[in-house]
Each structure stands twice: as structure tokens, then as C-alpha cells.
Subunit: 358 residues, 2 copies
């Protein structure tokens, strides 16, 4: 039975993990979308308490500074929507406090994504799933979000049977420290100075690391073949859940590349019936929050170094995968800002979907 | 009818394009393999004539310096093996001169690769094809070479029906100027200084460019679907030719990444019958010039930033592709030095294969 709450038109919003890379972007998204908040609370660990965060204002909240408060169980009293991006253990720790306070938790961590009564939502795809939440709505993993946003417009053309995806993931997936390490380490590499990897298991400067999140040890989910990372298996499980379709198969390879904050994905899709490439392009061009950027003759295609800060998901290199029979195959290249589309923005879009109809 | 030539045990070798990134590596390969040359001539454009190249010696050639000569039609008189890496137009220009001089041209450009009477050779795979050359043997494209070297050991396990490959290609594919531009531009990016792309169509620092070589305009080869690059279509055509198998289908996406000189490839392979993953790993471990580097528990997998200068092709992340029925699918990650395995070393291996049996 779904948890019910009458959401006020001007909710109190808490941002938990407000000083992190995603938390800061959540504040920018609230500003950019002029989210109709009556109050915005910024919560973080005791270490950050008292810090002032500039805020351009949104809804009934004026421009000015927001003062970081230490997150405790008391922090959620009076909160309507709690945007969490402080890691899985923090989300687990404060789940009950949010529930007790009547705050809907929108959680960016992987803590609850596979729980049966927790909707996993990308509003452009499955906003309807919000209806059955029980206090927690999970934000999917960044790699999954941009893939399903790009593929959603194509589901009207036929059933997607199989997706083979190789990712080119940015340093921002490891947070602000990941981006800082990429820049700092690259500078040291160029100067011939020594460096020690910290945010990543290996050197990231001028390197690719085919390993993101832990290797799945068999406990994470049933029937994971040996040798996959959790990051990869998230794409398998989350895509099925968001599409509400257990028959879509995903074969992922997730790779970290020396890019700052946009992820790219090389995707081969197999449909259950023939699809026309022009129809695919038209569907993408008309997709929600999707931009078709596909003009090879003029060297136009999405590139992760050039879409920093973008809200949309960019698709290009759309072409026939000639190795799938009966014109059922399509290949494409998808780029989106990892901190925004892949995390903060998706969470704020979910918050928007919780608002009462105007 | 194949061109016949009695190759002397100590041939005269010419390196055409000796001052380029690949040419320099060709000299290093001759040294490293102690190629039994009686003479090594280094040829380049008039601009480089007179330049001295250090050489550690090989065969009957003592250590010392080699003096660059201007390449003319006269340069090939007395030459037995001419290693070309000076661009397709130069290869075309000097083909006849090599033929007339009785020099076997081993050409690293794409000039002759699809010609019916020009063998396209990766010695570990199809050394036998050398027998039917008519004066020219083509070196395949770098992305194709490392893929077929990695897949060759698996062909004993079943027929490879389909390959889906996404590449992560290094700046060295654009030669010495590509590597210099990546380093220089990255330094400028970090310093906040302006830069102008030159070797690449777009910024390469902290970026990925899903475009290598020209977009195929329909003239390059028959039946290329719209939207592919020549780099991608080379993988389709060259893989069939090297494997001598028109039924192997290749679906490629080629992407430039900010890495200096090793290419990486994310590969999903579909066999015609079930394959066992342990058998795949064993076959790779026993493959010629293949190193299985696959110990996820200890964060061991191939990485392009760490294999600069390596002769071998490294394979890791070997696992079941669970989206292919009947256990016929395998996924893997392949890394090799682009200038060596993907170019210079392959050419010198071909030269070795031309030598008379000892």
C-alpha cells in the first residue's frame, strides 16, 4: 500500500549532503527550475556545519546565503521533500527519521534502488511509478539515467530486446575529489612529478580504467555472471525496473575516462521489429529533454568535454547496426552531464513530479 | 599469380617515413627483434634529409647513427624489404619503384588494404596469406590488429558470428603531432589558456571525440550504411579479410579519448556455439603475443596509460555476455600499444615472416 502524503504547493525542501558535488548541483537545479519551495534547508556532516552556501533563491526562498546545518534526526521535522546525496550509509541511517517526519526521501544513493516497494524513477520514463512509493523514491545510477532518457523515445518504434553499452565515464562520478584528482594528477603527470592515486584505484591521467564501483561478489543480486562490476550490474537491473520490463537485456561495460563531468555511452540497440533510421532520428528529436546532435557532414555529434552544465541528454552518431538482421539494429552515442542529468537534476525532476497539480 | 622473390637471409631494409611516429618505432622494433638486416636505409621527405637517427644496431648493422635520405624512386634500388609509413599518397607514389627494384613493400597506410591481390596480414592470424602477395603486403589498421590478435586464440572454440566493439583510441593514432597536441592542449586547459585544435577536429583535452578518419561517403566501399566513419568501416572490412571469413559481422564505434598511445577496446563476441569462460581465458593465456591480465579481485585488468611501449596485446575483464542465448556470448577489454602492435611492430613481424627458413 502506497504511503500517502498531501504535498503542499510550497514544500519545505532539505538537501542532505549539500556540500558535496551532487548536493551543490541540487541547489543549482532548485534555482534554475525556480522550484516552489517555502524553505530550503542545507544539511551536511558536523564538519561542514556553519558553512555559508550562496543561493540565488527559488519559490518563496529569497536570494542570499544558506547556512549548513549538521544533519541529525531532528533536521527533518517539518520537511516535505528530502533530497539525499550523502552516500548509501547516510541514507539508510536517516530513512526512518524522514519517514517519521513525513518527508519524502528522494535518494541518490544505491541504498534502496532494488527494494521492491521503492520506485526507481526517471520522470520522463516512469513518473507514474511515483504513485506507489512508501516514503522513499530512488534516483537511478547516472549511467542508467542518461541511457533510458535517450532510449525512451524509441520504445514507441518497437520493443527493445537488447542493449549493448560501453560507457566512457567522467571523473565526477567519484565526486568533487574525483574531478580534483583528475586535474591535479594530470598537471603532475605533465610536469613529470610523482602522484599517488586516491579517488581512483589507479592513475586516471591519460588513462582509462575498466572498473567502476566494486566487482560484484555474488551477494549483491542473484544470477550475476562472474566478472561484472556493481556499476555494470546496476545498468542491467535498473533499466529493467525503470522500463517496467524484465525482458530487456543489457550487456554493459563501464569504463572511467579522463573527462571531467559528462558521461558518454556507445550504445547498440536491438529491436523486436524493423526500425527506420529516420524514424529513430525523428523520435529522438522529439524526445523529452533529449537533443539530437547529429550532423556528421559538419563534424557535429555530442562530446563530453563540451556539454558541462547542460540539462539535456545529447544523442548523435545515429546509424544502422548492420549486424542485426531485418533492420532491427541501431547504434548511437549518448552524452549527458553526470552531476546534473545523472544525479541532481533527476532528483529535482522527481521532486517536481511530487508537487500537486497547479 | 603471386610475385616471387628469393628473400636473402640478410635483407636490405628501407624504412620509408622514418622520422614519423611510426617510422621511429619501426627502427626500435628492428633493434628489439635484432632483425637480420644487412643494411637499414632511413628515408623521408627532403625536409628531413641529413637528419641523424640514433640506432642500436640489428643483424649486420652496427650501432651508430643512421642518416636520413630523401626518398626518391632511386632509393629502393637494392632494397629487399621496404617498410612504409608515410601516408597513403606516398605509398601509392612509390609502389611501382619498389616493384621495379624487387623490394617487397610492407605498407602501413590504408592505400592498398582492400585490393584483392594485396594480402592484409597479422602474422599471428594469417601469415599464410603472405604467400600470394604481388609486391605489396598491407598492414591493417591499428584498431583491427589488436582486436584480431586478441580474438584469434578464441576461433578454436567456435565460429565468431558477430563482434560489437567500442574503441577508446589514443592520440598517437594522429601521429606525433596528435600526442603533442594532447599534452600541450591539456596543459593550456589546466592553465586556463586558449588553444586551437589542429591535429583533431575538436578539443581533445578532457574530451572524447566519436569521430576518427572521415565519414564514409559511399564511395569508399559498397553497402556501407549511412553514418559510419572510415575508421569504423575498416574494422568491418579488414576483420573479414584477415580472418578469411566473410560471415563474421563487426559492429564498430570508434572514439578518440585523451590517452597518449595505447588503444583500448570494449568487445562483445557472439559465437555459433556455447563457449566456456574458463576455456576462453585459457585460450587467451596461451595465445600468441597475447597476455591475459584478468584478476579483478586484485584490481588487475589492462589499462592504456600503463602499457606504453609494450609489444603484447593485453586482455582482461573476460566474462559471460549473459544477453546472448545458450552461453554463446563473451565480453572482454583489450589494450595494446597503438604505435607498436597497431603499426610498427606488426609491419616488422610481417618482415620477419618474409625471411627464408633458417
Amino acid at each position: 500500500m502506497a504511503w500517502t502524503k498531501v504535498m503542499p504547493a510550497n514544500p519545505v525542501v532539505a538537501v542532505a549532503g549539500a556540500t558535496g558535488a551532487v548536493g551543490r548541483e541540487m541547489l543549482k537545479c532548485l534555482e534554475a527550475l525556480n522550484f516552489p519551495a517555502s524553505e530550503v534547508r542545507v544539511l551536511a556532516s558536523a564538519r561542514s556545519a556553519g558553512q555559508k552556501l550562496p543561493f540565488a533563491g527559488c519559490g518563496q526562498v529569497p536570494a542570499g546565503e544558506l547556512t549548513v546545518e549538521e544533519m541529525t534526526e531532528e533536521s527533518f521535522k517539518g520537511v516535505d521533500i528530502a533530497l539525499f546525496s550523502a552516500g548509501a550509509s547516510i541514507s539508510k541511517k536517516f530513512r526512518q527519521a524522514c519517514y517519521d517526519a513525513g518527508a519524502v526521501m528522494i535518494d541518490n544513493s544505491s541504498a534502496f534502488r532494488v527494494e521492491k516497494d521503492v520506485p526507481l524513477v526517471v520522470p520522463e520514463v516512469n513518473a507514474a511509478d511515483i504513485a506507489w512509493h512508501n516514503g522513499v523514491i530512488a534516483n537511478p545510477n547516472c549511467t542508467t539515467i542518461q541511457m533510458v532518457v535517450a532510449l525512451e523515445p524509441l520504445r514507441a518504434l518497437g520493443h527493445i530486446d537488447r542493449i549493448i553499452v560501453s560507457s566512457y565515464q567522467s571523473a565526477s562520478g567519484a565526486g568533487a575529489k574525483g574531478m580534483a584528482e583528475l586535474e591535479d594528477q594530470t598537471g603532475k603527470y605533465l610536469a613529470g612529478e610523482p602522484f599517488e592515486p586516491s579517488a581512483f584505484a589507479h592513475q586516471i591521467a591519460f588513462n582509462c580504467i575498466p572498473h567502476i564501483d566494486v566487482f560484484v561478489d555474488g551477494d549483491y543480486l542473484n544470477d550475476v555472471p562472474e566478472g561484472y562490476t556493481k556499476e555494470e550490474w546496476k545498468m542491467v537491473v535498473e533499466t529493467k525496473k525503470i522500463f517496467g520490463d524484465n525482458t530487456v537485456e543489457v550487456a554493459p561495460t563501464c569504463v572511467r575516462v579522463p573527462v571531467l563531468r559528462c558521461h558518454s555511452e556507445s550504445i547498440n540497440v536491438e529491436f523486436d521489429r524493423p526500425v527506420n533510421i529516420e524514424d529513430v532520428k525523428n523520435a529522438l528529436a522529439n524526445g523529452t529533454h533529449v537533443v539530437l546532435e547529429d550532423d556528421p557532414a559538419n563534424n557535429v555529434y555530442p562530446m563530453p568535454g563540451l556539454h558541462r552544465g547542460a540539462f539535456d541528454t545529447f544523442v548523435g552518431r545515429v546509424r544502422r547496426d548492420h549486424t542485426v538482421a531485418d533492420n532491427r539494429g541501431v547504434a548511437m552515442w549518448v552524452v549527458a552531464d553526470q552531476l546534473l542529468r545523472g544525479a541532481a537534476l533527476n532528483a529535482v525532476y522527481i521532486a517536481q513530479a511530487l508537487l500537486p497539480e497547479a
